[in-house]
């Protein structure tokens, strides 16, 4: 087509023909899509062949963030509007009307979802999303309204729990990303709320054991990601929510597990070591080859966990936090949760080592340092040995991250340089130097960092690639 336009030398006509050609293709694809169900019924094509034809001659992209957002936002607006309209007259309705208004939308949205599901592969993604989100909202509304109408003695956390449990199958069956995100947010809120109950009341009566429930609920997303064929991957936004859910949930479970008599005197404190282990588990989460090859920006679990570990490690370069960290090691080892985290980190570390993910191993090693440093710290030395060890470890890791870049691996030279700069700034801020000397030192460090950044950029431009770390 383009060649013909070139011959004609008429760019406008070429564009028009190109658009017409796309439109014709779309019409043919749509015709094929309409014919396929009948062909399948009549046995002209197998289900497998029909799927292949649908993939090859797709009417529209099979997903798309915009479609998902449009479907989800539309559904949320309709649901919220309905709730607002009903709420302003709610008290004037007799009980049976209120009950009908509570359960009616559930029946209607279920029927709509069933119809959309019946369309199979031909259902447009935004329709699937909208139907699934509306049904999820209807489920929550039905449970909350029935609880209100009958004055049931449920806590709001009970409603959130059951809402999540009965809604997540919609994410599996209708492959709804929005419902999956809502589910992840819901289980995070529930886990944090249950942990806070335990932390605030220091007892376990009427509080769910989130050490068991959070992993079980998090596993509820497995039928969607990676799915039965182990090939489904969440989109970038969903990955971020998944990573945040895992991190916040693990921290909440850590808080729950930490509430024991040994920790209650003089007051509750979250063990910084267990926080580090949680972050390390997230950083080391096993990936397949495709996942490893992806850029860092598409691995939010590595970014979030790594950032948390580096920030904590920088804090531990000070004596007081380092002393508290060492003091937390032995009480933490009394907890089953600590041993479970250690086992998970060790297992993930072995996998990461075999895959050659040395950069994440270097970051995760910060979490193991207290375990090694605690027995080696001399009596009465306070936190200084550990603080110095963390300074050296940060420096070593920064050098590793820079060196990986120069030995042909996908390192993080800029992050390494930034860490060295941060370390120097922290130590300079401590140092007993004049303001003039500190000012000059900061200027020199800043110039050095910018020069290194420019050097790395130029090097990457001339020598792209590198094996993943």
């Amino acid at each position: 087509m383009e060649k013909r336009c070139g011959v004609a030398g008429h760019a406008g006509l070429g564009r028009a023909i190109s658009i017409r050609g796309r439109r014709m293709r779309l019409i043919h694809h749509r015709w094929l899509e309409e014919q396929l169900p009948a062909w399948e019924r009549e046995g002209l094509v197998t289900a497998e062949a029909a799927r292949t034809l649908r993939d090859r001659y797709a009417v529209e992209p099979p997903g798309g963030l915009v479609q998902m957002i449009v479907g989800a936002v539309g559904a949320v607006l309709i649901g919220t509007g309905l709730i607002a309209v009903l709420a302003c007259n709610w008290d004037d309705f007799p009980r049976w009307v209120r009950l009908a208004l509570a359960l009616g939308p559930l029946a209607v949205t279920q029927a709509v979802s069933w119809w959309v599901l019946g369309r199979g592969e031909t259902a447009k993604p935004w329709r699937r999303e909208a139907a699934a989100v509306l049904q999820t909202l209807a489920v929550g509304a039905a449970m909350a309204l029935v609880s209100q109408i009958y004055n049931l003695p449920e806590k709001w956390t009970d409603i959130v729990f059951w809402w999540c449990v009965v809604s997540v199958p919609l994410a599996w069956a209708m492959r709804s990303q929005a419902v999956a995100i809502a589910y992840l947010l819901g289980i995070t809120v529930w886990t944090v709320a249950e942990s806070l109950k335990r932390v605030n009341l220091h007892d376990a009566i009427n509080v769910a054991d989130v050490r068991i429930w959070f992993p079980v609920l998090l596993a509820g997303i497995l039928p969607l990601w990676p799915g039965p064929d182990l090939r489904q991957r969440p989109r970038a936004g969903s990955r971020l929510v998944l990573a945040v859910t895992a991190l916040v949930g693990l921290l909440a479970v850590t808080a729950y597990a930490t509430v024991r008599p040994a920790f209650m005197m003089p007051s509750f404190r979250l063990s910084p070591w267990l926080v580090m282990l949680s972050a390390a588990a997230l950083v080391l989460f096993p990936l397949d080859r495709g996942g490893i090859a992806e850029p860092l920006a598409r691995k939010p679990q590595v970014v979030l966990g790594g950032l948390m570990l580096v920030v904590l490690a920088l804090m531990e370069t000070y004596e007081r936090p380092a002393r508290d960290l060492v003091a937390a090691v032995w009480p933490s080892l009394q907890l089953h949760w600590c041993w479970l985290l250690l086992a998970v980190v060790a297992g993930f570390a072995v996998v990461a080592f075999r895959q050659g993910r040395f950069a994440v191993l270097a970051v995760a090693s910060f979490a193991i340092l207290p375990l090694l440093a605690a027995p080696l710290s001399p009596q009465g030395a306070g936190g200084w040995p550990v603080a110095i060890a963390y300074s050296l470890a940060l420096l070593a890791m920064a050098i590793v991250l820079i060196a990986l870049e120069f030995v042909g691996r996908q390192g993080a030279a800029r992050i390494g340089a930034a860490m060295i700069m941060l370390l120097v700034i922290l130590r300079m801020a401590d140092a007993d130097l004049s303001l003039l000397a500190k000012g000059i030192a900061f200027i020199v460090i800043g110039c050095g960092f910018l020069a290194f950044n420019a050097f790395v950029s130029r090097r990457r431009a001339t020598n792209p690639g590198g094996s993943p770390a």
Binding site: Q148, I149, L152, P153, S167, L201
Partner: protein, 191 residues
């Protein structure tokens, strides 16, 4: 039937079961539960999922600790209620060992201090709120506060939480002021 349809059908069924189980629970309490009325006070509050409600405080919440109650933490206790001549139920006995009976409720007890050398506990009830839904006008809110606030006793008016007890569990049915449902009071004043 495709696997996705089976999953959807089961999920749809579960989505009905959860609210219907709540309704079934209510109907069971109403049909077979023992009625008890406890003196209470309340303040207006808000739940993001279920709207406006009255946050109850029961006069029977402060008690002396049972003899064999452990020193620390929260402990489940079983309270036996008995109705007085005035129709108001009060706690007759508290036990840390499970007991049964038509007017026995399982509660949670926590130590709250000492009074004249005796250890005192505060009780956590399985119900603590009555949903009212209606948006109160300032005048109605003031009226309700006057009838339900802790300092209302001088007026001689008593607010009562009407509950149903079944198998050690309890369900709050209504809050009565001068024998009239607080919902009716609010509705009448709002008209």
């Amino acid at each position: 039937m495709r696997p996705a349809s089976v999953v959807f059908a089961l999920a749809a069924l579960a989505q009905w079961l959860v609210p219907l189980a709540g309704i079934g629970q209510y109907e069971r309490f109403m049909a077979r539960g023992t009625v008890a009325r406890l003196e209470c006070s309340a303040s207006s509050s808000y739940d993001p999922l279920r709207g406006r409600y009255l946050d109850l405080w029961l006069a029977e919440s402060g008690q002396f600790a049972p003899r064999d109650m452990p020193e620390r933490g929260a402990v489940p206790v079983w309270a036996t209620l008995i109705a007085g001549d005035d129709g108001i139920s009060r706690i007759q006995s508290l036990s840390v060992t499970p007991t049964s009976g038509p007017s026995v409720i399982r509660l949670v007890a926590r130590h709250s201090g000492e009074s004249n050398g005796a250890k005192r506990i505060s009780l956590e009830w399985p119900f603590d709120r009555l949903y009212t839904a209606r948006r109160l006008t300032p005048e109605t809110a003031k009226f309700v506060a006057g009838r339900l606030s802790v300092g209302r006793y001088d007026s001689g008016k008593v607010a009562l939480a009407e509950i149903r007890i079944l198998d050690g569990r309890a369900l709050l049915v209504d809050v009565l002021v001068d024998g009239v449902s607080i919902r009716d009071v609010v509705r009448r004043r709002g008209e």
